[in-house]
Symmetry: C2
Subunit: 223 residues, 2 copies
Amino acid sequence: MKLRLLHFPLSPFGRKLRLALFEKEILAEIEAATPWEMDADLTARNPAGTLPLLEVDGEAVICPSSAIAEFLEDLGQGAALWPEDPLERAEARRITAWFDEKFHREVTELTLYEKVHKRLKRTGNPDAARMRAGQHNIRIHLDYLSYLADRRNWLAGDALSYADLAAAGHLSCVDYCGDVPWDDYPAAKDWYSRMKSRPSFRSLLADRVGGMAPAKHYADLDF
Amino acid sequence: MKLRLLHFPLSPFGRKLRLALFEKEILAEIEAATPWEMDADLTARNPAGTLPLLEVDGEAVICPSSAIAEFLEDLGQGAALWPEDPLERAEARRITAWFDEKFHREVTELTLYEKVHKRLKRTGNPDAARMRAGQHNIRIHLDYLSYLADRRNWLAGDALSYADLAAAGHLSCVDYCGDVPWDDYPAAKDWYSRMKSRPSFRSLLADRVGGMAPAKHYADLDF
């Protein structure tokens, strides 16, 4: 089976899957693309017009990222990223959805999308009130992440799961624009430091988008 | 295993699960609740503060609805609501996410939440511009639903799946406030008519919330 992932480098959802492919050691062609520069071509493959999408054998297209994650698990190859126990699996799914839905709406859209995506898409200037709201909200989320990281080895329990990959996908994108106050949240910082040191993370730290440099500490393992 | 579903009757996500429990013939206590009237009690069980949630043996709590749906499938009881084939399963997940994410953002939030939820929560008056946008957007979605219903027996393929339950959850809620122009979309109407006639749908058609009567044709099988 020939797999090809099309992703936008500063997308948390694409990053979750790039991490997953690497952690599971699944062989796939991974290609960066810019969704708003490939409109008709993209909507023919995904009517929702979004990336990431996964092509299977050059024909079938899987999207959005939640369905791709489940599909990669269904392959039964490499490390499992959902726990075996149904209740623990449900907990990992809860935290994955927490980041992909709640954190996305309350932080990612108000920081990264305001600062970076709007500029790349040329859809207007960043909205200062929205950015302030995002910077306020991220502290609530870092509190919760610290609470989890204090009590568990990984965010959903003993083993690395999609919960960690989803959280790291969002936080690494927001960190690209320097909006994560790591020093006030040592437990969250320790968890992120462990994520950042994994070989799967390397390609994320090398991402550069639209001539915008990342925050100084972005790729620094000792941040 | 003792299951108890807490749901808000005019929630598309709660409705998807009520339909699923019935279609799968899984025995569960199903209790209606109002999330904004149970704040501290609710956030102790679900930090996100949302319904639906599923209690397992009076202890474990599963949320949000996407994790509950997967958990119900994991029980391996009753009719499967994800197709067996991994690519078909991915397609069913794509359409489920289409309704639970895209339709929710582009239609449900702009119609049902403006008209009904705001009034029940006493959080202000409906915003006319948002409602107009929702009524515009629903036509695009009904076009897409008709396209799918014209080509397939059920929305994701040959068999009923979570894709149908998610779509019916949203559309039945929006239909409660009379905002679905069924007559302009015969293929979508035919699909909804088949959904509406299923025994699993009966309790949804009997819902009455906060003294607000549903649209006239809401519970009518011949609408």
